[in-house]
Symmetry: C2
């Protein structure tokens, strides 16, 4: 018998068999004074799950239950918890720990803390246990990483906001997206669709850039103000130096990724921000590509607790509706869903549901 | 006989013979209502001169007199000129035209105007004449590009500020260098030495990053607060995430250019700005290099008229002394000076002087 409490989850055992999920029990870390324990209700499916279990990102402490767009009910709170009450509907995203004491943490940059731990696949330093994600019955973490969810947003729609949503929301607000600003979202997938929804909700003129016109109708349904397809000849020419911000959600920087074209869209000191973290891709940049408009290239990593709360409030206030397909969680369905996501067969995000049936009410 | 007025200058005739200068007359554009004509007193020597005449940048309308750090006396002004009077000591930098009518020009971003013309090697659209630089008896251009020089700065010291100086001053001020900010200057050459002088004058904690310790004593003499040599093992480790801004003046991005190390120095959303424009060099960037601190990479091109005037005032107010070696202008001396600059045999900038002797008083 384990000395730790145990939860139940769907784990992957190796990157060689990353589409095979096995339901079993695993140890969970001891409950702390600042911790909140969730009984999970649903969990979004993120490309990070694939990059992790297939070994692409190189960190994979198996056996591992992934999933980091978690919505559930708080069923236990530590003695020092002040932000959550038992019974609250709350969310947990992709990060579950930072020191909360360094300069980064004290400046709402806790996602850049050098001691950060991911919601799954990281190792709790005190016990050596591997953090386990949301394809599980429960999760347990510090209240800083547990977010109360406004009542009006359905669980399956808010789940994917907790990673994909905040990944777009944070660079939008940090780079001034709002009335009078013109923003382009490169790539209309799970991330990109939140770029459109939040860009519009923040009041920015929001365009979509895609390879083909296949998703053009969807983009306009989401509220996009314009659509550009990079397969069109001279697609960027009429739009040079007219954008303030280009946020890329591209999952690889190979052929078809027209970096020079994207940069040419930017006004003076405009910003190109990458939110995708391709497994093995390199941007080839010459200062001559940056010189004509003095633009910048950067990347962004999740968003702060403060931003998470403001994003959820904005989603509630504006009635933002994520485009979500729900799938009952099971070994077979997780395997199929991961494979569909790999083929981009998704419009535009999956949320695994039916946890009561899988794990009991 | 030419239908145009003529000036006299030291011209290069081909990139095959880019170290051969020949003194001869050339046509100059017709005098306009907003133009100022300078009798040149001295001119700084810039790496751009070499990149242009050796063909490295691919634009070279020969025969060409280069030189774009020009100080002289205004000897004629157009009927609509308001900012300069005959007899004023004034400067001309690397740019001599923009439309002054577009959004960029109207937002103090005239160096990013799509119609900009360089002080040398560009073509005046109305006449087809090639713009000729400051290794010449005179120069003529629109008053927007002619800068009154505060009395207290010696001509040979102010000349190199008009390109090298503004190239560092603009990204320093545009990226917030000042009290409480920590700035690193990569490379201590002609550009880099102005990075230190202006960084300090603006009140920022200013460090120098160089390959070896050879220039360490000079850096501290210029006022640097710290010095790092990338040849030292783990040179960056104790300084990770402690800088707000890294300005690179590197002239190539090949071996020894430790981009990942420079980026690691930056605090969250810190900025890496390239001011050097290497002839053929590519930065290899992965989002993973930008992710840990959400830093950005950008480039900068000269600086606005407003910044030029504030830089000159700051130089006067703080008594900034450029490190300059003066060389009397002649065919032979230009050839030797260009070759010394190519070998980095300069501490830290050359100014060609003795124009009265070369061209007559």
């Amino acid at each position: 018998m384990s000395k730790y409490d145990q939860y139940e989850g769907f784990q992957v055992d190796s990157s060689a068999n990353y589409t095979t999920f096995t339901k079993r029990k695993f140890d969970t870390k001891p409950f702390g004074d600042h911790d909140v324990e969730l009984k999970i209700e649903c969990c979004g499916v993120c490309s990070s799950d694939i990059h992790t279990i297939n070994g692409g990102w190189g960190r994979n402490n198996f056996p591992l239950a992934v999933g980091h767009e978690i919505v559930g009910k708080a069923i236990r709170i530590g003695s020092k918890v002040t932000s959550v009450e038992v019974g609250d509907r709350v969310g947990v995203g992709a990060q579950s720990y930072s020191c909360l004491d360094c300069r980064q943490c004290n400046n709402d940059n806790e996602t850049y803390c050098s001691k950060q731990l991911d919601t799954y696949g990281s190792i709790w330093p005190d016990t050596g246990l591997v953090t386990q994600g949301g394809y599980s019955s429960h999760i347990l973490t510090h209240e800083h990483w547990v977010f109360p969810i406004p009542e009006s947003i359905p669980s399956e729609m808010v789940a994917p906001m907790l990673c994909a949503g905040i990944t777009l929301y944070s660079p939008l607000v940090r780079n001034g997206a709002g009335p009078g600003k013109k923003v382009a979202i490169v790539g209309l997938g799970g991330l990109g669709h939140f770029g459109v929804l939040f860009g519009k909700a923040l009041g920015a003129e929001t365009w979509v850039i895609s390879r083909s016109h296949a998703k053009e109708a969807d983009a306009f349904k989401m509220g996009a103000d314009g659509f550009l397809a990079t397969q069109d000849k001279d697609w960027n020419v009429p739009h040079k130096m007219t954008f303030d911000l280009v946020i890329s959600t591209a999952n690889n920087f190979g052929s078809g990724f027209d970096l020079e074209g994207y940069l040419s869209l930017l006004d003076v000191h405009g910003k190109f921000v990458s939110t995708g973290f391709p497994e093995e891709s390199t941007l080839q940049i010459t200062p001559q590509m940056l010189g004509p408009n003095g633009c910048s290239i950067s990347a962004s990593h999740l968003g702060s607790r403060k931003e998470m709360l403001s994003m959820l409030q904005l989603a509630a206030d504006k009635g933002i509706k994520s485009w979500v397909e729900t799938v009952p969680i099971s070994e077979e369905n997780l395997s199929n869903t991961i494979q569909r996501l790999e083929k981009n067969d998704v419009h535009y995000r999956f949320t695994m549901v039916g946890y009561d049936k899988a794990f009991g009410a």
